[in-house]
């Protein structure tokens, strides 16, 4: 089953987004990760790598990211990790919800979950 990783500059934001997405996620594994490792705002690749390893089984993990350095550090984490993982180019909250739903489909693949996450770019609110 494809797992999800939610990366935010704020550990609490990552946890909150994972909490919202989990409502729709069935038994999909969602790993929140964030913060600079020192109690501050930021992202570090080692922590993201650990989250990817925790979320990915044989089907891999889709990584949702917030701003700039989250993208770069997720990129580095994927390079370092042996697990199969891809970054979704999607808004982090809406993308996580979409991905969570997509991952519960028994025929879901890494690509189908990433595509559903990226479809969240089109969501209109008004």
């Amino acid at each position: 089953m494809v797992g999800l990783v939610v990366v935010s500059h704020s550990e609490r934001a990552a946890e909150g987004i994972a909490e919202i997405a989990a409502e729709m996620a069935g038994d999909t594994v969602i790993e929140p990760v964030g913060g600079d490792g020192d109690g501050g705002i930021g992202t570090v690749p080692d922590a993201i790598e650990n989250a990817i390893v925790a979320a990915a089984d044989a089907d891999g993990a889709v990584v949702l990211v917030d701003l700039g350095s989250a993208v770069m550090n997720a990129d580095v984490a994927i390079e370092m990790s042996n697990a199969e993982a891809v970054i979704a180019d999607a808004p982090v909250l809406e993308g996580a919800v979409n991905a969570a739903v997509a991952a519960t489909d028994p025929s879901a693949t890494l690509d189908s979950v990433r595509e559903e996450a990226e479809a969240a770019r089109e969501i209109e609110k008004l």
């Binding site: 600079d36 020192d38 930021g42 570090v44 690749p45 080692d46 700039g68 770069m72």
Partner: protein
């Protein structure tokens, strides 16, 4: 310890000291256009990197570069981690046979490519690429085309970086946190370009010290900067939609 290993540890210590001295200045630059963490992040990362480099047992320059890069990646906590640290780890493969003028050019080019690739940035985006690109090009040309001594090439590169930092002031940020400000980023000096310059200045000072030489009094005048034939770098980028 090899000579280049000793020089590399000295360089890392010099950079860490410089970044610590400039910490408040870098934070001040970053608070104008970013999230005010560049000074603190860099100071924390380089202090840890200097400790890690000192703890190495008889390292060569490649091992020092790799260790410093990995430490920066895990300690910086922002985009500077993958940009400064990840690129250092990646470029360190060019130092297989130690530090020579040729391997230094290859190292610099590989480092620049990784920074541009990782940050998806090019010249004119108001980032460290604006300081790094002219520095690397000037260094390469001074050694490969103009056959200048490495120390003089490095001195020219530092001057080119200084001009690159000045170039970031009047332009609009297109990458990094400052890009969220749109036109309001105009008139501000990029913090990452500035810390890149500080690092290059310290490398030059340590290189001169190790070679027991004075820092050559040269500047990177325009004829020494190679044409960007076949690329669009250095020209005004197309406006992007925000």
């Amino acid at each position: 310890m090899t000579d280049d290993g000793r020089a590399a540890v000295a360089a890392v210590e010099a950079v860490a000291n410089r970044i610590e001295r400039e910490r408040d200045y870098l934070t001040q630059l970053d608070s104008a256009i970013g999230d005010a963490d560049h000074g603190g992040n860099m100071a924390r990362g380089w202090a840890a990197a200097a400790d890690a480099a000192r703890d190495l047992d008889d390292p060569d320059a490649q091992t020092v570069a790799k260790t410093v890069g990995k430490t920066l990646m895990s300690k910086v906590g922002g985009a500077s981690g993958p940009l400064f640290g990840g690129s250092l780890v990646f470029a360190s493969v060019e130092l297989d046979d130690g530090v020579t003028a040729e391997s230094a050019v290859a190292f610099a080019e590989t480092y620049l490519e990784k920074v541009k690739d990782r940050g998806d940035a090019r010249v004119g985006d108001q980032t460290m690429v604006d300081a790094l690109t002219p520095a690397v090009h000037t260094f390469k040309k001074s050694i490969e085309t103009d056959s200048r001594p490495a120390l003089e090439a490095l001195a020219k590169a530092v001057d080119a970086a200084e001009r690159g930092v000045a170039f970031t002031v009047p332009i609009r940020a297109r990458k990094g946190r400052a890009s969220y400000l749109g036109w309001r980023s105009v008139g501000h000096q990029d913090p990452g370009a500035t810390s890149t310059l500080f690092i290059l200045e310290e490398l030059l000072a340590v290189a001169a010290d190790q070679l027991d030489s004075e820092v050559p009094d040269v500047d990177a005048t325009s004829p020494t900067i190679p044409d960007e034939a076949g690329t669009d770098e250095g020209t005004t980028p197309e406006p992007e939609e925000d």
